[in-house]
Symmetry: C2
Subunit: 295 residues, 2 copies
C-alpha cells in the first residue's frame, strides 16, 4: 500500500462527501451560505472525518449513515476555527494561506456564519435518522458529538484557553486544554464511527481512551516540532512558542520528557487497536503518521 | 381566571424548569457557565417556552419530556441575543436593564458562551430521549428545532437583517426577515409542543401556520406601538424607527394597513385553534394579549 496515495484518494473522497451536504448559495441566504462554504472549502487535512470513517470501517460499518456525521464533524471543527480567528479571540487574518472568514465577509458574518455552521451540523446529523433502522445509534452518536463539542468538551477547552491567555499554566490546566480543545473532537469522531457501526459500549470506551491519547500526542508533537524542526520542514516559522512565551509541554517538562510522552501515548493508543477483534491497517498507519510527523 | 396572576405563576414555573437544566458554575468551566447562566437569568417573558408548554398541553401532553425542550428553546433564543448584542453586530451595552454578556465577561467570552449555549441546547434536548418511549417524536422535534434555528430559520433572518442594515427594504425582504428572525423560533416552540404531545402531521402543519401569523403579527405590533404609543406606556423611547430611518411595516404600508395586517394575522391564528379538537383557553388569551399589547 502506498500510504500517501491512499491518503490523498481518501481526502478527495471525503471532500466529495462533505460537499454533498453543503448549503446552496442561492436565495436570501446566499451570503451566509457562501461564508459557510468558503470556510469549509478552505481545506485542511479532513483528519476528523477520516478518523470517523476509518473507525466506522474498523467495526464493519458500511452504510451511508456515516456520511452526514462526517460532514457535521467538519462543520463543527470549521465553526470553531472561524470563531477562533475573530478579532476578539485570536485576531488572525490568514489560515492555511487563505484570508480568514471575517476578513472576507466581515466580522458580523464571521460570527453568524460560524453559528450557522454549528447549527447546520445538527440539521445534517438529524437527517441521518432516515438512513438507518438503528435510530438508537444515531441518537447516541449525536449525544457524543454534542457533549464533546460543548462546554464539557471543545468549547470548554477554548474558553479556558482564552481565559488563561498570557498567564502561567500548570500541568493540570495544560492537560485540560489539550484534552478538550484538541482531543475532544478526535474522541467524538472515532467514538461516533464506532457507535454507528454498532460497537459494544466497552469497545466505544476503549476507542475513547485511544482517541484521547492520539489527540494529546498530536498536540504535544506540535510543541516538539516547534522546537526541533526548521522553518522549511514545518512550512511555518519555528520557535514561535518560545517567542510568544507560550506554555507548552516542552516548556513545562522539557524536550525529552515531552517526546517520551508522545511515544507513551501513541503506544497506548496502538495497543487498543491490537486488542480489538476487527482491524484496519490504514487507520493504524494514519495514527502513526500523525504522531511521527515532521510538520 | 385572573390572566396576569396565572401568567406570572406560569413564568415562575418555567424559570424553575429552565434553572434545573443550567450548567454548574464550578471547575475549569466555571466562567463560561457563569456567562451562560447570567444571560439566561437576565430575564424576559419566557414567551417561547411558554408557547411550547401550552401547545403541548393543548394536545394533551403531560410528560416530563417537554422540559428539556423548553430549556433548550430559551438557550437558543438567549444565544441569539448574546451574539446580536456583540460590538460587530448591534453593539448594545444594555438589554432589559442589565449589562449585556460581552460587557460583563468580555467579547471573547461573549462569543464563546453564545456558542456554548447554542450547543448546550442540543445536549439538553438529546437527554430527552431517555424521558419517553416516543424517540421518534424526540427526533422530529429536534429536527424542527434545528431547522427553525438555522440558516433557513432564525439565523437566516439575522444574516439578511445584518446584510441589509441601513439599506432600503422592499416588502419581500421585510417579510423574509420577520418570518425568520422573529417567527421561526415561535413556530419551532409551538410545533415542538404539538409534536412531543403526539399531534398528527396535519395538526402540526396548522400550528406552524398559526405560529407564523402570531410571530409576524407580534413583530408588526412592535412597529405600530413605536408610532402610536408614548414613552411612558412603552417603557422605552417611541418613534425610534423613524429616527433611525428604519424600514418597518408602518413606514412601508402606513399605520392603518399595518394595524389591519396585525388584525388579519391574529384572526387567522385564532381560527386555527377553533378548528382543533382540544382546547387551551389560557393559550388563546396569551396570544390575544401578545397581539393587543400596548407595550
Amino acid at each position: 500500500m502506498n500510504f500517501q496515495k491512499t491518503l490523498s484518494d481518501k481526502i478527495n473522497e471525503i471532500e466529495t462527501i462533505i460537499e454533498s451536504f453543503l448549503p446552496e448559495e442561492s436565495g436570501f441566504t446566499a451570503t451566509v451560505a457562501k461564508a459557510m462554504n468558503y470556510s469549509i472549502r478552505a481545506g485542511g487535512k479532513r483528519l476528523r472525518p477520516m478518523l470517523m470513517q476509518e473507525t466506522y470501517r474498523l467495526f464493519g460499518g458500511d452504510e451511508e449513515v456515516i456520511r452526514p456525521f462526517m460532514a457535521a464533524m467538519e462543520m463543527i471543527h470549521t465553526h470553531s476555527l472561524i470563531h477562533d480567528d475573530l478579532p476578539a479571540i485570536d485576531n488572525d487574518d490568514y489560515r492555511r494561506g487563505h484570508l480568514t472568514t471575517h476578513k472576507v465577509f466581515g466580522e458580523a458574518m464571521g460570527i453568524l456564519s460560524g453559528d450557522a455552521l454549528l447549527n447546520y451540523a445538527y440539521e445534517v446529523m438529524l437527517r441521518a435518522a432516515n438512513l438507518t433502522v438503528h435510530t438508537d445509534r444515531v441518537l447516541l452518536a449525536m449525544k457524543v458529538m454534542a457533549e464533546k463539542t460543548g462546554m464539557y468538551g471543545m468549547l470548554g477547552g477554548q474558553t479556558v484557553d482564552v481565559e488563561n491567555d498570557g498567564k502561567p499554566l500548570d500541568r493540570a490546566l495544560l492537560d485540560y486544554i489539550y484534552e478538550n480543545k484538541t482531543s475532544a473532537l478526535i474522541e467524538a469522531a472515532m467514538m461516533t464511527g464506532a457507535i454507528l457501526a454498532g460497537a459494544e459500549d466497552s469497545e466505544v470506551a476503549l476507542i475513547e481512551k485511544a482517541a484521547k491519547n492520539i489527540g494529546i500526542a498530536f498536540q504535544i508533537q506540535d510543541d516538539v516540532l516547534d522546537v526541533i524542526s526548521t522553518d522549511e520542514e514545518l512550512g511555518k516559522p519555528v520557535h514561535s512558542d518560545e517567542k510568544n512565551h507560550k506554555v507548552t509541554y516542552v516548556t513545562l517538562l522539557g524536550l525529552e520528557a515531552a517526546s517520551k510522552e508522545v511515544k507513551r501515548r501513541s503506544d497506548d493508543a496502538l495497543l487498543v487497536f491490537e486488542s480489538l477483534k476487527g482491524e484496519n491497517p490504514f487507520l493504524e498507519e494514519l495514527i502513526r503518521s500523525l504522531i511521527n510527523r515532521r510538520k
